[in-house]
């Protein structure tokens, strides 16, 4: 008899975004390899369980799989390093970083299947062009506690604001900039901003596919292999899928009047490092210096 795994996604299933596309491609692969023995089905997005509750729901067995991001960092602080990696997905799988994440998730009954996107990250959309780090000085930028440290380092003025208020906040000038991934067209950011800083931060992206660990362990070895093999296959194709979608989105934004700016090369490097370091500093307080050093040794490209 066919085993059906129910999956949740952090965004509505219809949302066009790199991680969603990769995740769906993974599902297609699983369903093809499953050959009537195993099937993954998307149950729904935030309308079923709120984004903050999806990991909980999978951990407690109300769904089997979730495509999520780092919203459960309170329970598994290690997951916050997802965006900070400087190595490729294949290297992460080989050098034990993925195993480390998986082990960290086991205490809340979750199995890490793998990443759903890579090499994309977050961009700053703004009303004024950003061409040097000095341009951040005093900039009113939409933020939440995860970004605050980084934006303060840039001497910007982080303003706490709900995701649902980003559009209105930019439209009315309450903030003049906001971080978002490149798939900003749906949100209408091109209507309320004119520039995008094309140097991403946390460019390894933060999305990840998680599964209920008991459920995973209960599957026969061949079906476990179906899930993992499909993931390994998709990881090889991931960078291309993401690059292609990002390119299309970039074109769409450009046609809507968006101008892309860059920092001078050395400042761009500084910008990336500040973003990474500000996260590592916070993590050191939570995880301890040793654990952070262990993770850094794995994912920071020397």
């Amino acid at each position: 008899e066919e085993i059906v795994l129910k999956a949740l996604t952090y965004a509505p299933p219809s949302k066009v975004e790199d991680s969603m596309a990769v995740f769906k491609a993974w599902i297609d692969k699983v369903n093809a390899k499953g050959e009537g023995k195993l099937r993954v089905e998307i149950l729904g997005g935030p309308e079923v369980f709120g984004v903050g509750d999806q990991v909980n729901a999978v951990s407690k067995g109300l769904a089997d799989i979730t495509l999520t991001f780092t919203a459960h960092t309170a329970l598994v602080p290690e997951v916050d390093t997802l965006g900070l990696s400087g190595i490729t997905v294949a290297e992460e799988r080989e050098n034990g970083y993925l195993a480390l994440l998986d082990e960290a998730h086991s205490k809340i009954n979750l199995k890490v299947i793998g990443r759903a996107a890579t090499q994309s990250g977050f961009f700053i959309f703004s009303k004024e062009p950003i061409e040097s780090l000095a341009d951040f000085e005093g900039m009113k930028i939409r933020s939440h506690s995860g970004y605050d440290g980084f934006f303060r380092k840039l001497n910007a003025n982080p303003i706490g604001m709900n995701i649902s208020e980003i559009y209105g906040g930019l439209e009315r000038g309450i903030v003049t900039a906001a971080p978002y991934n490149i798939f900003a067209y749906d949100l209408g950011l091109h209507e309320v901003t004119d520039y995008m800083l094309a140097d991403p931060f946390w460019y390894s992206h933060t999305t990840v596919t998680l599964m209920n660990r008991k459920k995973f362990d209960s599957l026969p070895a061949e079906l476990q292999a179906v899930l993992i093999d499909a993931q390994i296959e998709i990881e090889a194709e991931m960078a291309d899928i993401v690059a292609k979608m990002a390119e299309e989105e970039r074109k769409r934004l450009a046609e809507a009047g968006m101008t892309f700016t860059n920092l001078p090369p050395e400042e761009a490097e500084q910008f990336r490092q500040m973003a990474t370091e500000s996260r590592f500093e916070v993590l050191e307080e939570i995880l301890g210096a040793d654990r952070v050093a262990e993770i850094k040794a794995l994912i920071v490209r020397q």
Partner: protein, 436 residues
């Protein structure tokens, strides 16, 4: 379980409980708990708690408490009453004078109040005695009052509009701007009705000459009681347009402004403040508890897969999409009486809206019509909360008389509703200007 079985069971049980007289909050939670056990097991109860936390700790819900408080302060300090009296001095001996005053007051109050029941009750209590004394017919006295009170949710600030925007995930600011034109249109349709009715049957609204107030006195009263209201309107809407605050924040500014205004008139006492706060707490707790319960209910509905399947089914119906929309509005109107505005929006919108979007319609357009429809449901027989409110205040009037008085107003509402559905620009033009 097939999706439609789950759907019918969940929805059916809920309505059965409501008709049984079970308070709405327990009907929602009760259905949830009964079926959670079946669909999810014990872990479902734990996620229920997460869902309650998640659906309440939402910033954009803040205007619910704030808008209600703003209205309470203005009513309880007597500022609203002063405003009506001032408006009254400008009305000459025209036919249907008091009915027009009712509409004018309703529209002005609508710019200050977030909830319709309070406005209606206050207008009925103040204006009907004068109308009855002057020999106005029931239709021309009660009708416009029923309609004008309901304007409260069609002209910003509108607590119900905020809830609708949040549930529908559309921009609160855009929706609040989008309802302005339809709200004015609605008020105008009432004016047309009153003018025509008193033309055709002058005895229904006997003309009389009221005490003339000197023009200087009138100007003075206007400067004192009507002009300052523009400060509040500015705080609620103007600051949003100027980019000083988000609509949520503007609700707080407007409320602070109402307190300030009351203080300036020397009418802000401790006891009035406490009364206003208590009354606000009462309504807010009721609304928020239902909100948490209904959110959990719609999540359960989505968990069973019924929501997704229903959307698929509705978008593939062999009828023109506009009829799907009309059907949704009919369902809303039908259910709106017994269930009431807030729970109704929470029940239907999460199910309807994905279909609306899938059919290619603008969610704002749908929401504006939805709001007018919810208001309409409150004055259509057999159930209509505003009809009960009127009956509660006018002890010696029969329910039949009240219902008959409501009929022309219902017709006005239906015409405006049809116009809104047929001409999307009525609801979409103004918010589009926001972008310029």
């Amino acid at each position: 379980m097939e999706w439609y079985v789950a759907f019918l069971l969940l929805i059916g049980t809920f309505f059965f409980l409501v008709l049984l007289g079970v308070p709405v909050v327990f009907a929602f939670f009760g259905v949830n708990i009964i079926y959670l056990g079946y669909f999810m097991g014990e872990a479902g109860f734990e996620l229920l708690i997460d869902s309650v936390y998640g659906s309440l700790s939402v910033f954009v819900l803040l205007p619910i408490t704030l808008f209600i408080l703003m209205g309470e302060v203005l009513f309880r300090t007597g500022i609203a009453m002063k405003m009506i009296n001032t408006l009254d001095t400008w009305m000459g001996a025209i036919p249907g004078r008091l009915s027009l005053l009712a509409i004018g007051s309703g529209t002005l109050l609508a710019t200050l109040s977030g909830a319709s029941i309070g406005t209606t009750a206050m207008l009925i209590r103040t204006l009907t005695p004068a109308m009855q004394e002057r020999g106005y017919s029931k239709s021309l006295s009660i009708g416009p009052l029923l309609g004008s009170g309901g304007l409260a949710i069609m002209i910003p600030p509108s607590a119900l509009g905020v809830i609708l925007a949040v549930i529908a995930s559309v921009s609160v600011g855009k929706l609040l701007i989008a309802i302005i034109l339809p709200g004015i249109l609605l008020a105008l349709s009432y004016v047309v009705y009153v003018v025509l009715a008193s033309r055709f049957d002058p005895s229904a609204a006997p003309a009389y000459s009221s005490e003339r107030v000197a023009i200087s006195e009138r100007l003075m009263l206007t400067a004192k009681y009507i002009l300052p209201l523009s400060i509040i309107i500015f705080l609620v809407i103007g600051v949003v347009f100027l980019g000083v605050a988000t609509p949520t924040e503007a609700a707080a500014l407007g409320t602070a402004g109402a307190f300030g205004l009351a203080a300036c008139y020397g009418r802000l006492t401790w006891s009035v403040t406490i009364e206003a706060l208590m009354s606000t707490l009462r309504i807010s707790v009721m609304v928020l508890a239902i909100l948490a319960a209904s959110k959990a209910f719609t999540q359960l509905l989505a968990y069973t897969g019924a929501t997704q399947q229903l959307i698929g089914w509705a978008t593939e119906l062999p009828i023109s999409p506009i009829w799907v929309i009309v059907m949704m509005h009919l369902i809303t109107l039908f259910l709106g009486g017994p269930i009431g505005g807030i729970p109704l929006i929470m029940m239907t919108v999460p199910i309807f809206l994905p279909v609306v979007t899938a059919l290619g319609y603008d969610p704002i357009w749908f929401c504006v019509a939805m709001l007018i429809n919810v208001e309409l449901a409150q004055i259509t027989p057999p159930f209509g909360i505003l009809l009960y409110v009127a009956k509660g205040i006018l002890q010696d009037t029969t329910m039949g008389e009240i219902t008959r008085a409501a009929v022309p107003i219902i017709v006005c509402n239906l015409i405006v509703l049809a116009l809104l559905i047929a001409i999307p620009a009525l609801s979409l033009w103004l918010p589009a200007q926001m972008l310029q």
